[in-house]
Amino acid sequence: MNIKNFKLNTKIIAFGLASVLLHSCGDPKPAEGETGDDLADTDTVKAVALNVGGELFSVPSPMQTALLIQKSGVAYDKAILNAGNKNGQYASDYSKSLNLGIYGADLGYVSMYNQTQDALQYLGAVKQLADKLGVSAAFDQNTMKRINDNISNKDSMLMLVGVAYRASDAYLKTNKRTEISSLILTGGWIESMHFSITAYNKKSTDEIKYRIAEQKQALGSIVKLIRSHNLPDAAELVTQLEELAKIYDGITTKYNFVEPTTDEAKKTTYINSTTEISISKEQIDQIAAKITAIRDKIINAKS
């Protein structure tokens, strides 16, 4: 593209976009049958869209692991959690974000076991870190009141905490603070791994063992996510996660596809495929040591 063309394009694009904006401001109601979310289909819009879009990542909810552990009959143990009164020591956004993820997982864990007093303490820790990070919109007065009102109702608590974390994720993505969102997810995942490992040491069930082994994809997403932000603070974390990924590379799985079945009336599909997974005691020990090292560094941060 030469300079002349660029000048011409700038004019056209500027007027075009201004027209689109003015049009959208003046006519907010879509015609019947339209979705109402159409944007002008121009190259400039494409640039904006690509900037917002890009690869998506998924990290399993730590509450899902807490749920499995509780169902496995492992007793509640507050000692495995990050102490709820440490939030004041986390000074950097990096440290606050990771520990907000950890406290969120801890809040899910105590709620799962109906520990009302502890839930209040972790709710306070979550609220304080969220405020400091500027994501208090997700934990606003109304949400906090609903959580407080339902603090002794396990099912409502879990639902509300999940919704609050989703709101925080959405808020951070909307405001282009995806690095904070990624660190919160990472903190939550590390804490959920810590739950699994400590539970497995107390009660070595196959369910917990396989849950530890089944984290290869989640870990892959987390490594990509954290690496994509190029955060200087996260360099050591990335190295540690990559070392963890190497341990996971040694875990073998055998997937057997079985045709799913669907009950249309119930809007339900049954996924019938099976997976055989093989993980050794030595591999679990290696994973446990690595997770403990990563977690200790995060929860004991003083900056």
């Binding site: 289909d41 400039t44 869209a49 989703r166 959405a170 984290q215 994809q217």
Partner: protein, 143 residues
């Protein structure tokens, strides 16, 4: 002088469009959240992507754990049924597409054994003339 005016107008317009798109995604996500009913716990994430046309695809990889029921809600625009979503296993077997069920805005999946899968979403060409924000939400409950 004129050059600066055009540049200024361009920057303002891009910022404006970006904000419009963000607001659009937020309102779609709010509507979509209604499909993740109370018995499901949100996975705490809001998967969203701006799609330029019905050819473009948003994609992410996830793990469905065994003995769990998942609910996926998929939305674009202000009404249900504008977004097609497909789920594939790790060998690219199609496990489900809502296209076969009138672009149902949500669907439940009872998962027997843990599996890694890929979720893809695209705008339905018959219902979307241009671009739009695609939102996917996931909830889960123990079987």
């Amino acid at each position: 002088m004129k050059k600066n005016l055009y540049k200024g107008l361009l920057i303002l317009s891009i910022v404006g469009l970006s904000n419009t798109a963000k607001a659009q995604c937020d309102s779609i996500a709010s509507l979509c959240a209604k499909h993740i009913i109370a018995q499901f716990i949100s996975d705490g994430q809001s998967y969203r992507s701006l799609l330029l046309n019905s050819e473009e695809m948003a994609e992410f990889h996830t793990t469905f754990f065994g003995e769990t029921t998942y609910r996926l809600a998929a939305c674009s625009g202000k009404t249900d049924g504008n977004l097609i979503f497909n789920i594939y296993d790790q060998d690219r077997h199609l496990l489900f597409t809502n296209k076969n069920y009138a672009n149902a805005p949500y669907w439940d999946f009872k998962v027997k054994n843990t599996l890694e899968c890929t979720i893809e979403a695209q705008l339905d060409a018959n219902k979307n003339a241009g671009s739009g924000c695609a939102v996917i939400l996931i909830g889960f409950k123990q079987k």
